[in-house]
């Protein structure tokens, strides 16, 4: 820590840090706090209450949000399963196939969605779907989500994979396991922490996505983020804050889980 270029000694370090933290977290805190507001106002504090949480589940908007939430869950689960499977296969191929022609290109292709601006992917997906005459709806959302979830699932899986030496599979095959058995009985269990971590990350990324979803969803089909956006356009009601806070909670839980699982897996080695 006794570095000569200790960042903390730079002039204005404290001010910049505080500004960043405030800009990042103050809105989240405000939303979370006001979701417990008793009054209808979104600016004046009227005492603590759970009214808006009750309203989310029983109020006039409840059926709309419920349908959207179910759509979101279906899509997130399916997209995460598909993306994780594809990412697992890709990670195995990338780390076990040795050096092959186009390895760098493959790597770039897998991770491309991380680098392309999301709005470009959104427009491209929409154009693609209409070009092949695919009716927009739940299925188009799912396909688009699978694609952009792959790199998020790939990163933890591939990190895990790289820490597993191939002698384990060789030992399995030396002990009369077919290559398939060596994969399912030895490699796959060793990869599990990475796969779980990748799944959770993909799940939450899909659950939270707004931009691409908004482009490729058909008329009348909503996910939770697009439904929230739709409501906000008619004015912000405190129940939106309650939903947002719930989603924030779910996100925090999943991201923490993903991190914890990835970490225990690392420790075991």
């Amino acid at each position: 820590m006794a570095s000569v270029t200790d960042l903390r000694r730079f002039p204005g370090f404290l001010a910049i840090t505080l500004t960043c933290l405030v800009v990042l977290y103050a809105p989240l805190i405000v939303v979370a706090v006001y979701s417990f507001n008793a009054s209808t106002s979104i600016t004046n504090w009227g005492g603590f209450s759970l009214t808006w949480y009750v309203d989310v589940f029983t109020g006039p908007d409840a059926p709309k949000f419920q349908r959207a939430a179910i759509n979101s869950l279906i899509i997130a689960v399916c997209a995460a399963v598909a993306a994780t499977s594809i990412a697992t296969a890709a990670a195995v191929a990338m780390t076990r196939a040795g050096r092959f022609k186009g390895k760098t290109l493959s790597f770039a292709l897998i991770n491309l969605p991380l680098m392309v601006p999301e709005v470009v992917t959104a427009v491209a997906s929409l154009v693609f779907f209409s070009a092949i005459g695919f009716t927009t709806g739940l299925l188009t959302i799912l396909v688009a989500h699978i694609v952009f979830c792959i790199p998020f699932a790939y990163l933890p899986i591939s990190a895990r994979m790289q820490s597993i030496p191939d002698t384990y599979e060789q030992a399995a095959m030396d002990l009369y396991a077919t290559p398939r058995q060596a994969f399912t009985m030895v490699l796959l269990p060793l990869m599990t922490p990475g796969i779980l971590s990748g799944f959770l990350l993909a799940f939450i990324i899909s659950l939270d996505d707004f931009l691409i979803t908004n482009f490729v969803k058909g008329a009348g089909v909503e996910t939770l983020p697009t439904a929230i956006f739709g409501s906000v356009k008619q004015g912000i009601k405190p129940n939106i804050m309650a939903i947002s806070t719930l989603m924030l909670g779910v996100s925090i839980v999943f991201v923490s889980l993903s991190w914890l699982i990835g970490r225990t897996g690392q420790n075991k080695k």
């Binding site: 030496p165 002698t167 384990y168 060789q170 030992a171 399995a172 030396d174 002990l175 009369y176 396991a177």
Partner: protein
Amino acid sequence: MASQDIAVSVDQVVKHYGNFTALHGVSLDIRESEFFTLLGPSGCGKTTLLRAIAGFESVSEGHILLKGEDLTGLPPHQRPVNTVFQQYALFPHMTVLENVMFGLLRKGWSKVEAVRRGQDVLDLVQLAEFAKRKPTQLSGGQQQRVALARALAPRPEVLLLDEPLSALDLKLRQSVRSELKALQRETGIAFIFVTHDQEEALTMSDRIAVMSNGRVQQIGSPKEIYEAPVNRFVADFVGETNLLDVEIASIDGGTASVVLPGGTPFTCPAATVLDPGRGHLSARPERIRITAPGDAHLDAVVTGHTYLGTDIQLQVRLSDGEVMSVRLQNSETTSVPEVGQTIGLQLEEGAARLLAD
């Protein structure tokens, strides 16, 4: 053909990696129930040969036969051969017993029989009480024994061991050596043991193949390898030796007459038929006696001592500047010459050998 008592026959095996050749036509026969060691410096191709026998590496040319049957093209899981890996590669998500049973279950044993056999083998390596533990909860020496048990459980025709002791500390390594040797005798399975430690090879093996640069230099019993090396490389790599540049007067069959530095004639066994000219005389440091200067084979000046515990090693210099070492047993009665003193060196007849390069 006497192939029934040959376990593995390696026949003219060549292995290329791109344009690098790791094995240049290696031929070996490993007998049934034999402790056979592949000994050689790092990078000489020992692991490559072992992996070729196990099936992890294809051979570019030649054949490997197991009990007379060609293994070419057979994948690892169809070869009745098991390996003890250098880093053990125990499956971390399985218990010790599950690790040992793995091969048995894949071979189609019933669960009950596999459990019984697994426990028997764990008994054999004295780890019965650790059956329920995970490999990470064991010491290095215990993990090594689990790896051994796992590879022995399916009763392979041949057991391959790639430097299995290198991850253990010195003291443990020495006790594991005799255990391993006893286990080999008890099971009667042929062991092919890879090491670059010559002491390990000499103490454990029935026969040793000394390799260098992808070629077998010599195959023989530890005694043959140590006392009758065929060339300079083997003499130098196995144990310690003095290599003297000598003039060859005549060679007759296996015996050569040479002229030592300083002009004394000397008769010794010769490794291969050499043309008269110059050659190398190998004399082990412990096979040289110290006498009074003048009428000995060689005269030399003592330049230093090294204390080795059991022995004392003298560094001496001959009149032509060549440096040699001589070992004296460390005991009450040994008189150690002073540094600077001139002494006579008497080479034991029959223990010094003329070698090809």
